[in-house]
Structures are given as C-alpha cells and as structure tokens.
C-alpha cells in the first residue's frame, strides 16, 4: 500500500520541486541585475550604492566564469568610472573584452578614453587640488592596450 502510494507521489514531488526550482533555468547568474539597473536609473546620484550592488552581483557570478552575464563587467566598470575609480574601471573593461569578443570595439574605446582621462587628471594642478590617487605607483600597469 504505502509503496504503491510512494510510487505515485514521488514523481509528483519531483515535478513540483522542479516546477518551483528549475523552471527559469538561466544560462547566466544575474542576481538582482535588473532592479540594480533600475534603481540607478531612478536615482543617478546614488553611485556608491550602485557600485556596491553591481560589485556583489559580479562577485557571485564570478564563482562560475562562464556564467558571468554579457555586459555585467562593463556595466560595473562604468559604475566604477563614475565613482572616479578609473584604474578599477579599466580592469573591468578588460575583463569584459576578454570574456566577450563582441565587446572589443566598444571596450577598446572606453579603455583608451579612460586612460587618456587618467593621464590628464593627476597633472600638477596649480592650486594643488588634485593629489595623485593613492594606488598609483610609478611604472606600474603599463598601458598594454590592444589596437
């Protein structure tokens, strides 16, 4: 009796758990990417929170390299750029370019622009308002840009 009952129930349980668990099977690990995008769209001043949210999504997605969604590294890089963290921005643009060949033209452009901005920024401002960023050591990270 109980055995036959189990026989009927088991497939049902499997089906139910599948319907709730594995129905939206996705190729990439998105986290709450869409709501992070919208939150930033609605409140563009909230750069810090946006950087933090995207950073968390990147961290979780990177656990499986081929599950990092297209555009995520670039979007995170741009958030870092907006927060003034240019070196890190370049790092993530490069990651996007490495993972997605379709992004190469765009990422090359953004890397070039950011590098140009970086070279112009810490220049000896007469008022001395812009001290060089803490992380920059002379000679570190030569611009190995692919043309």
């Amino acid at each position: 009796m109980t055995v036959s009952r189990l026989r009927i129930l088991l497939p049902l349980i499997v089906a139910a758990s599948c319907a709730s668990g594995c129905a939206p099977q996705r190729a990439y690990l998105w986290g709450d990417y869409d709501s992070a995008l919208y939150a930033h769209y609605a409140n563009p001043q909230d750069t810090e929170r946006y950087v933090e949210r995207l950073g968390q999504i990147v961290q979780k997605a990177e656990v499986e390299k081929d599950k990092v969604p297209p555009g995520l590294y670039a979007e995170y890089g741009y958030a870092l750029f907006e927060a003034g963290r240019l070196d890190e921005a370049i790092t993530y643009y490069k990651k996007e370019r490495e993972q997605w060949e379709e992004s190469q033209v765009f990422m090359d452009k953004m890397i070039r622009n950011t590098q140009r901005l970086k070279e112009n920024r810490p220049g000896p401002a007469p008022g001395g308002e812009l001290p060089p960023p803490a992380g920059t050591t002379p000679g570190a990270a030569p611009a190995g840009e692919a043309k």
Partner: protein, 223 residues
Amino acid sequence: MNRRGLLLPLVGVLFLSLGCAAAPPKKDYTAFHAANPRSILVIPVVNNTTNVEAPGLFLSTLPIPLAERGYYVFPVNMVRRVLEDEGLSDPNLVHTADTGRLCNLFGADSVLYVSIEAWTAQYMLITTQVTVEFDYVMKDGKTGDTIWKERKKIVYAPQQQNSGGSPLAALVAAAVQAAATKAAPNYMPLARQANAEVINTPGVGLPAGPHHKEYGKATDSGK
C-alpha cells in the same frame, strides 16, 4: 530589387495576420538569417505614454531575456550614458539616428528599437486593470534593414477567486487586492511576460543566438 523581394512576403504576412487569427503566420526570417547578428545594441526606449517611470523600468527588463536567448547584449546603462555624451540624450533622437552609425560607435551587429505604447492602470470598482503594450524593431547594422519585429499588448485584471469561500470573503479579498494594486500597480511582471513571449515564442520570436545551445538548429524559429 532586393527591397521588393523583402517587402512582398511582409505584405503577405500582414494580410495573413489580419485574416486568420487562429493560426499565427510564420515569419519570414530570410533577412534575419542573412544578417546573422551576434550582438544587440539596446538603445533607450521611446516613451509614447505619460508615465515618466516607464522607460527606465522597461529598459532594465530587456538585457536578461535577450542575453538568455544567446546574444551579446551591450550594457544598457553604460550605452545610455555614452549616447548622452555624444549629444544623444533624447531617445527619440537616438531612434532617428542612422543605424549604421550607431553600430559603428559600439561595434554592434544590430540595434533593438523599442517603444512603449501603453503603460496604464485603469481603476474600476473592485479591481484595477493594468495594460502594457510594446513595439520591438530590430535592424541590421550593415544594411539598416529591419530584420525582426513584434508588437505585444498584455492586459491584466486580477480575477476574483470564488473557489470555496463565502461570497463576502471573496469580495473582501478582491477589494484588498484592488487596494494593493491601486497603491502601486505592478507593471514589471507584465513587462517581463511581454518580453518573454515576444522573444521566445517559436515561429515568431527571436531565433536563438550564437551563445545559445539551439543556435542554428532546424527546430529553431524561422529555420
């Protein structure tokens, strides 16, 4: 010459879609397969409604279903900001810009033009009817030709659930539900549903892209 060859089937499809609602006509994917795009540039959406939140909300729902269909999708927020820097902050302006020029700027194979045609909540006695409608057009970066298009309208009115309970309880439940919808009509599930239907429905949706396991298979849309 080529144009006419493309137009005729399209006109035929139009007639069919007007004539027989029962069997949805199969789309002509010739132009799509000829273009064979790997990447999609999603530009800011045009808003033909009065709801100011709609464009931002809707833009954020687009990358996930498109990427899951197998395409490289350019980062939508970054693209929007870069376009602003190029002097294209008005979506209407971006939509009239030359497709080839847009694609060159980003190295994209295709551009997805989306407009919001409806995003409304109609308040009724004990329920709220929410309507969304979107128009999707995809153009090839090389030729500028339209390679895929769809339009989707979804109307949703929460049903009163009369299963089992007393009529009064059902009425109260419906009123509570209507009040909740009234406070903040939730458009997002409808927007996601519209995208999913438009992109994934076999025979009319977007063929699987190069990063999808179904890419190039005979069972795929339009093949």
